[in-house]
Symmetry: C2
Subunit: 363 residues, 2 copies
């Protein structure tokens, strides 16, 4: 049986590695012949709107998934039209691709969000600021990632610059959330409808890019974990979701505020390869194949450090006790995610020194 | 960097999966186009004495390894002659490929073995039995595996049948060891000379094929573990070994008797993927690349059950709590190793029920 994947980056690569263990083969579609997933699965080089490529995926695969949320919904629909199921379902993609739809969806499910408003013009923005107050964040509705297509407004004077920063595109404006920390949670739902979730993770970003995750997030009380699990499982049920889904949250005075969701395996879940009984990648593959889901229990405490821009000497990383390197086989480039390192131990406290050493090596 | 592997079976496949995580690419040579390692790495179809294939491996790879101990030493020497290192070193292959050389080597290192004698003729066999007593086991010196090329002698009447069973090939005869159980231990040694070992494993065979391994072996006192580690590390040092090596042992009245070694990753080490901090596959790759070795510490207790002949429904296997399936992507055939399942828990006792369920599913 072959699994099709739209996208041949590191997420596709780690899906293929996890799926190979279950005996699956992978056909990955990506416009770049250098796609790192091509080292461990079969790569089909082609655009996501290449009809012949999509037809080939549909003809050769029993199920198709994707590794990035900006995948064209039309591509997914074209595969479905040929009778091959695509998971996660396209409605999840459509919801996640539009921040206004996404936030409205959270609101409808009684999942707290920052107050927000739709912005289609500079006038809309001015009116919304009157209502929401300042500071606020303006974000394009579509295709923002890693902090791009966003602007923070501190005063009304910032309106022109912010509107220019989003290129006058359809946007939403939100109250700026003064959060204590950024958290995320992964859910997974099977084809038969069972849903599970992993432990809450604490995330640290810099320059809009995830740098470090701690799992489980230190100092989380059980009630907050239960609430986060309920949110992500509610989202998954409502979307008739199949696969792994990530929900990014802010912790604000002991409460959770939903920021955004990603209908795919997620960088803040890479710790699960060593740190959970079943990795996010294996559980995604199990889910889309209709296999029973694996336990999401943590094995001790983990920390994941992203390697960005430049790969340090592997010798130095691997000399750190219990450091697990995942190198994606990509060429170095500023801001590019080249790999990650996970360390695991009995408790988060036991890891602190090793995390510091790894962070200093990763730079 | 590309790693060459002689052999594209499940061991090559699991090496390629582990090495991909470290960012490595693999070129695997195997006579069969259906080799399962070809699903996750680049397969070069060719015989092991195909000079063009060996030249290609040497030209494209920075280091070459192998996944089976009957690999022709000439193939390894041909690659070395082109200036590309092959690990484990050929002298380890030569030692492991001849049971008489191997047992003599153990003896020279003061590692206990069953009493044995070289047999080149039926007369040699009769004379040896006078000296060693009965029962005894006759084994071909070369190319025996999974219980083939062996005969047990209970009386002197068995001499003719035994000699016929080994086809009159150069052999050794050993005193039949009345052991309490079969154990094995994995060692790993790096290019710079550091050596480590894993926990002793308890193995159960049927029909000459490994069926189940428990790791760590239950009820092993620390002194026995220390002794086993010393044996396998002594062997590795003496051979200037690089990579993972397996040593099969019998437990006899609280002592260890060495049976044979395998200069490669080993079926009795598959539990390390989930059950040890660093898997045998990753440590083999780290070793041959000259990278620091990873911790061999156990994570709780594990059991590994081989799937042989027929693959049961994955659904049933994966429904068992914390069962990890490894399917090799091979077609079913009687006696063929198609995959394995590992379960891990806090203690061996906690696993007993799950092991029984898995064994009944695997059949």
């Amino acid at each position: 049986m072959t699994i099709g994947v739209l996208g041949g980056g590191q997420l596709g690569r780690m899906l293929a590695l996890a799926g190979a263990t279950l005996g699956e083969r992978f056909l990955l579609l990506d416009p770049s012949a250098e796609s790192p997933a091509g080292h461990v699965g079969e790569l089909r080089v082609g655009a996501y709107d290449d009809e012949a490529a999509l037809a080939e995926l549909a003809a050769r695969c029993s199920v198709v998934t994707y590794e990035f949320e900006s995948v064209p919904v039309a591509a997914v629909r074209a595969i479905e039209a040929r009778g091959v199921p695509v998971f996660p379902p396209p409605n999840a993609l459509e919801t996640a691709q539009d921040r206004f739809v996404e936030k409205s969806f959270f609101q409808a499910l009684e999942i707290p969000t920052a107050p927000f408003a739709k912005v289609d013009s500079k006038d809309d923005l001015v009116r919304a600021l009157d209502q929401l107050g300042l500071p606020a964040v303006l974000k394009t509705r579509r295709f923002g990632y890693d902090g791009k297509g966003q602007a923070v407004l501190h005063t009304k004077e910032d309106v022109d610059a912010a509107w220019a920063a989003v290129g006058g595109a359809p946007s939403i404006v939100e109250t700026f959330v003064r959060f204590e920390r950024e958290l995320s949670i992964l859910g997974v739902r099977g084809r038969e409808g069972s849903a599970m979730s992993y432990a809450l993770v604490e995330n640290h970003h810099a320059g809009g890019i995830l740098r470090v995750s701690y799992a489980p997030a230190p100092r989380i009380d059980a009630a907050l974990q239960v609430k986060a699990s309920a949110y992500v499982e509610r989202i998954a049920r409502e979307l008739s979701y199949v696969g792994v889904i990530a929900l990014e949250l802010f912790e604000v005075r002991g409460e959770l505020v939903a920021n955004e969701m990603a209908p795919r395996v997620h960088n803040s879940g890479h710790w699960t390869i060593e740190g959970a009984e079943t990795s996010q990648f294996e559980n995604h593959v199990r889910a889309i194949l209709g296999l029973p889901l694996g336990s999401t229990a943590c094995i001790g405490a983990s920390a994941m450090i992203n390697v960005i821009g430049e790969m340090p000497e592997r010798e130095r990383l691997l000399r750190v006790e219990a450091a697990h390197l995942h190198a994606y086989g990509k060429d170095a480039a500023p801001g590019r995610k080249l790999g990650h390192v996970t360390v695991r131990g009995a408790t988060h406290e036991a890891l602190v020194d090793r995390i510091e050493r790894l962070r200093s090596i990763v730079g």
